[in-house]
């Protein structure tokens, strides 16, 4: 029973981070029709920046905010320097068909991932680093009993919940949020309404960069920092996004929590070695049985 509760708590905190990763993927997918495989490379980079600042003696929160800013800037750069030129040329030559227009941005994002990982390796070497937590990460002991979670776990849950609330309010209550939704749903009508969709897209990339950097900052204390550590998180986030339907923001969040719990259960009750096999089986089942995501109603989308 105790193991079960611990597992559920672990699943929820990890799930919260996966939800952020999935959210970042879905933001760019909705805004630009691209799945950004470099996303966690960007997060790795901004987490290294934060780690360096902390090592140099700056405070956690200063480093935290700078990392988020670096995440936003990297996101915008990826769009402006790579994806925008790519889509501008997308009617010529090799890119002149739908299948290649879907495929080539994937390849470009892998190129970006390679560049970021190599740069990180050059700048920070391959040394694995730990990453501090802003609050204690030993189990809290209310009333003298050991609870199945730490203060840092609670911190993660609170930060992610706040992020989700802010994101929801941004999309529902602000003009820019409306512009982003309109651009994602129908770019042509959005343009005819005077929305500058390429700016809106760059903003999607930037916000996605913030979300994934946040995920990087929250997951790294439990996973050590190296140029490749966050790759696996991306795969989980991708699966979470697909579970949520890939174009639904709330769906991606729920997908993140489902994946968190699934992985925690596999880790504890089966074997950590089988996590990726389970992930593959789960992903294939979702894609075959519910291609529009677990929450798709009647509308079935062609994936």
């Amino acid at each position: 029973m105790n193991t079960l509760i611990t597992t559920l708590f672990l699943g929820t905190t990890r799930g919260a981070v996966f939800a952020l990763v999935a959210l970042g993927l879905v933001l760019v997918w909705r805004g630009a029709g691209i799945v950004n495989f470099a996303q966690m490379g960007q997060a790795m980079f901004s987490t290294y920046v934060a780690s360096t600042l902390i090592i140099k003696g700056y405070g956690y929160w200063f480093a935290f905010l700078i990392a988020l800013a670096v995440g936003a800037i990297l996101g915008a750069i990826v769009d402006l320097a790579v994806m925008r030129p790519l889509t501008r040329r997308s009617h010529a030559g090799v890119l002149a068909s739908d299948s290649m227009r879907a495929t080539v941005p994937v390849i470009a994002s892998l190129g970006i991932l390679g560049v970021l990982q190599s740069l990180a390796g050059m700048i920070w070497a391959a040394e694995e680093r730990g990453f501090p937590t802003p609050v204690s990460d030993v189990a809290v002991k209310p009333f003298g009993k050991t609870a199945p979670f730490t203060k840092f776990d609670l911190f993660i849950i609170v930060v992610v919940a706040l992020t989700l609330v802010v994101t929801t309010l941004f999309f529902k209550k602000t003009g820019m949020g409306l512009a982003m939704r309109a651009t994602a749903l129908n770019p042509e009508v959005a343009r005819l309404s005077g929305i500058r969709i390429s700016r809106v897209r760059t903003l999607s990339w930037a916000i996605s960069g913030v979300a994934s950097s946040l995920a990087g900052l929250l997951i790294t204390p439990s996973a050590n920092l190296s140029p490749n550590t966050l790759d696996l998180i991306l795969i989980v986030g991708f699966t979470a996004a697909v579970v949520g339907g890939l174009d639904s923001l709330p769906g991606s969040v729920v997908g993140g929590f489902i994946l968190g719990l699934l992985i925690a259960v596999i880790n504890v009750y089966v074997s950590p070695d089988d996590v990726f096999l389970a992930l593959l089986v789960f992903l294939l089942l979702v894609l075959i049985l519910k291609p529009g995501g677990l929450f798709a109603s009647k509308k079935v989308r062609n994936v």
Partner: protein, 237 residues
């Protein structure tokens, strides 16, 4: 005045428009009629910047539109309501309308509020349904919503693509009459593309008849309406 001069548009090897020229007067409804595939929609998409012309010139009030993006053209007072009741179904009615004024929401806050109030006055049914998703509206209501979205940008030129498509005659009449009244009261210029020539000519001041990418007639609407030879040759009634 909207001036279309020697406009040619082609896609790959298909020529959609061959050397089109005509003008549309300010404050008037000019209708472009013709059979399916005559190039009517292409013409509107060229004016609003969604497509690029191969050659020619398009001027609105002396300013060239060709080569500008749709985002900039809206800011020049040209609003395009594309074919097929183009609303964004997963957004609410209010959001669809608000979207049309987003680009001037900060600089012109008060006027945006005013403009939104005006379209609700024009189409009270939309105000009743303002918190509903646009996807739940009837075809006629969607068309009203699409037009409202365009009107809150305070256009001086309104491009309407087949507003009658798939709607009951009574609804069409209501929408067309509203537009006509707007022209008279505010001096709005309208370029109305229609397949339903009879309806379009009954409300328009001027008619332009397109056939397979060329202008075959350009005359006052009542004259065109009365020309039975023209009608039977190109419109088939």
């Amino acid at each position: 005045m909207l001036e279309i001069r020697n406009v040619v548009a082609s896609y790959g090897s298909v020529v959609a428009l061959k050397d089109i020229s005509f003008t549309a007067e300010i404050g008037k409804i000019t209708t472009v009629i013709g059979a399916n595939g005559a190039g009517k929609s292409t013409l509107l998409r060229l004016i609003s910047g969604l497509e690029v012309a191969t050659s020619g010139a398009i001027h609105w009030q002396g300013e060239s539109l060709l080569g500008k993006s749709p985002e900039s053209i809206v800011r020049m007072g040209v609003a395009h309501v594309p074919e097929g009741h183009a609303v964004i179904a997963p957004l609410t009615v209010a959001e669809n309308i608000e979207m049309g004024a987003l680009f001037r929401a900060r600089s012109n806050k008060d006027d945006v509020k005013l403009a939104i109030g005006e379209v609700y006055e024009l189409f009270p049914r939309l105000e009743e349904r303002k918190n509903q998703l646009a996807g739940t509206l009837s075809g006629g209501e969607r068309q009203m919503l699409a037009i409202s979205r365009a009107l809150v940008s305070r256009p001086s030129l309104l491009l309407l693509d087949e507003p009658s498509l798939g709607l009951a005659p009574l609804v069409v009449e209501q929408i067309i009459e509203t537009i006509k009244a707007l022209c008279i009261s505010t001096g709005l210029t309208v370029l109305l593309v229609e397949q339903n020539a009879n309806t379009a000519l009954s409300v328009a001041d001027h008619g332009v008849l397109l056939s397979i990418g060329s202008v075959v007639a350009d005359q006052p609407a009542p004259l065109m309406r009365a020309d039975s030879a023209l009608r039977s040759a190109y419109l088939g009634y």
